[in-house]
């Protein structure tokens, strides 16, 4: 199956088959679309490698929670309800970010998005299919790291949204008839009859490394090998939050997330316990950007805690999510970012005993003064026992 692996050396530029306006014989190239503006909104389309990552591949579970903890690799199960939509790891990065990087926005009007920048029009750009083939490839890469990296066995997930009153998955066949399929049908490439030429496992960090860094004993490290990925603990609670909304325009914005001393101590205790516990279970910690609203297309942000970069975020679907009569009811987007590594480092440097965490958000795309992006609340959640 063809795909666009923007992570591969020298492949982060849009493939020429899509970027050339004409065929070699002079005819129009149907794979070229003019409404593909790129990260600098000048029609040059590439993926800046410092704005994408593969951190999701290291997420131990497929299915996450809506309560502020990990959204995991694949996202959350929302049941019959449609509230609490939050993107999973692979959807946040690289899926969403590549959408807004490729689509960009009209150089003359930042509110006019490129096709790939909006969920409703993205499929009209032929590069959409190669981007999604890459996401499908990354799903297979993630699956090749058992025992924890397995798809949900839950029957509702396997039967797909049609069993929950939503639209069924359908793909037009060459004869125009639909091919109806479920997630369960998509879990085995051999059965599906296609594969990818590169399914190399790329892990950003083995979880065992985290335990070693936190000072786990050699005995517990040996004991946890093979089972460390099977977490299954989702006690999620708020650690701290900002007290007023944040307004982001072309300049960076700063805020302070006030931490509750009791819950912060709980996090620190779980990290300290790694040194002595037989089966340590240190908390994971997540930064939530809640009620993110705005009307600017292809918005990208870089988030820092103190001087440390947390992540870059592409706000794919921001405009629609900000409208009260659309599917998200105007609640905006919620972005969940794993800050465990930063919190671990603060703990090891004895700097976690603080009243607040300073959060800095730097825009990577144009946000006009008159159409700001707002973040209703920035919060920190712990997930542990």
């Amino acid at each position: 199956m063809p795909y666009w692996n923007y992570f591969k050396h020298n492949q982060n530029k849009l493939p020429s088959a899509f970027s050339e306006k004409t065929w070699p014989d002079g005819g129009d190239n149907p794979l070229f679309v003019p409404q593909r503006y790129g990260p600098d909104n000048d029609g040059t389309v590439y993926v800046p490698l410092d704005q994408v990552n593969l951190n999701a591949l290291d997420d131990p579970e497929f299915s996450g929670v809506v309560s502020g903890g990990s959204t995991s690799f694949g996202g959350v199960d929302t049941g019959f309800e449609h509230s609490g939509h939050v993107h999973g790891g692979i959807e946040t990065q690289p899926h969403d970010m590549v959408h807004v990087l490729v689509g960009g926005s009209d150089p003359h009007d930042p509110q006019l998005p490129g096709l790939m920048s909006e969920p409703d029009t993205a499929g009209l750009d032929p590069i959409f299919w190669l981007h999604h083939a890459n996401i499908d490839r990354l799903w297979e890469v993630w699956r090749r790291n058992p025992p924890s990296h397995v798809d949900p066995s839950d029957s509702k997930w396997q039967k797909g949204p049609a069993s929950m009153g939503e639209r069924e998955f359908a793909m037009p066949k060459p004869d125009g008839k639909p091919w109806i399929y479920t997630p369960a049908d998509m879990t085995n490439l051999v059965t599906l009859g296609y594969t990818y030429d590169d399914l190399t496992i790329t892990l950003t960090e083995q979880r065992v490394e985290r335990f070693r860094r936190l000072g786990a004993s050699a005995a517990s490290l040996t004991a946890m090998k093979g089972v460390v990925g099977v977490l299954g603990r989702h006690n999620v609670e708020l650690v701290g939050a900002t007290q007023s909304p944040l307004r982001i325009t072309s300049r960076e914005a700063q805020t302070s997330v006030r931490l509750d001393p009791g819950v912060r101590r709980k996090v620190a205790a779980s990290l300290t316990a790694v040194r002595t516990a037989a089966s340590p279970a240190p908390d994971r910690v997540f930064l939530n950007l809640e009620n993110v609203r705005g009307m600017t297309a292809s918005t990208r942000l870089r988030v820092y805690i103190g001087g440390q970069e947390v992540a870059t975020v592409g706000l794919f679907g921001l405009r629609k999510a900000s409208q009260s009569d659309e599917k998200h009811a105007g609640n905006g987007l919620r972005v969940v970012l794993d800050i465990t590594k930063i919190v671990d480092a603060l703990h090891l440097e004895n700097k976690l005993d603080v009243d607040a965490l300073d959060v800095r958000i730097v825009p990577l795309s144009r946000i006009p003064e008159e159409v700001p992006v707002t973040v209703g609340r920035v919060s920190v959640y712990r997930e542990g026992q």
């Binding site: 019959f80 039967k159 708020l238 009569d325």
Partner: protein, 261 residues
Amino acid sequence: MTAAARERLQIRVPMLLASGAAWMLLISESSRTSSFSFCPADMHGVTPLSRFIDLRLSRSFFADWLLMLAAMMLPALMAPVRYIRDRSFASKRMRATVLFLCAYTVTWTAAGSALVALVGLARVIFRDSHLLATAIMLALLWQSSPWKQRCLNRCHAEPELSAYGFAADLSALRFGLVHAMWCFGSCWALMLVPWLLLRGHIVAMGVVALWLFAERLDAPAWPAWRWRIPSKASRIVLAMLVMQLKRERQGFAPFQHQEPT
């Protein structure tokens, strides 16, 4: 079961149990009396205005009213209650939930009492049969209107909530108040019909409660004039029926793979 489903159950179980208990009490009361004190149709014959006002403000009115609200509305409140719980510190979840529910109840009760009073006054002037017919027409009209859709959309709002101190209490109260206003706006017309029935209140209330719960399952949509039925709930029921039929015909083989061509 997924982690998210386990989180949902923590809210669903107590709220559905509370709603079920309220229904049981309502049913047991309905077996004793012909209707409830909050129903404008409970006074047979012409009622002097003074007696009407006395009855509306009686203790039994508020007791019945709270029972009705708990029975009919708690299932529809699962999503906002889960939201407020998730956004609060663990030590303040119960407090925030109680404040939200109090503000919701007070607002709904204030708006509902005004509506009951209006209908009661109308009943002094008009005949019962005319009132019921008017209420049915009004419910159909409101159900099809863009205003109903706007109210439904706002029922899905998840506002920013403060986490600390008095501001946290205030935002829980504000959330409850605002949610109740949109909820009342969404429900009032349909609620009128069982209130005005001379018989079969409890059955009609059950049907209306199911409808109100089902229509909350639909995602927000653009406000427009259209005939509005709970489409997602209908599709869920249909999908379940189809799966059951398939199971009966083919044995248990839920995932039949279709090769792409």
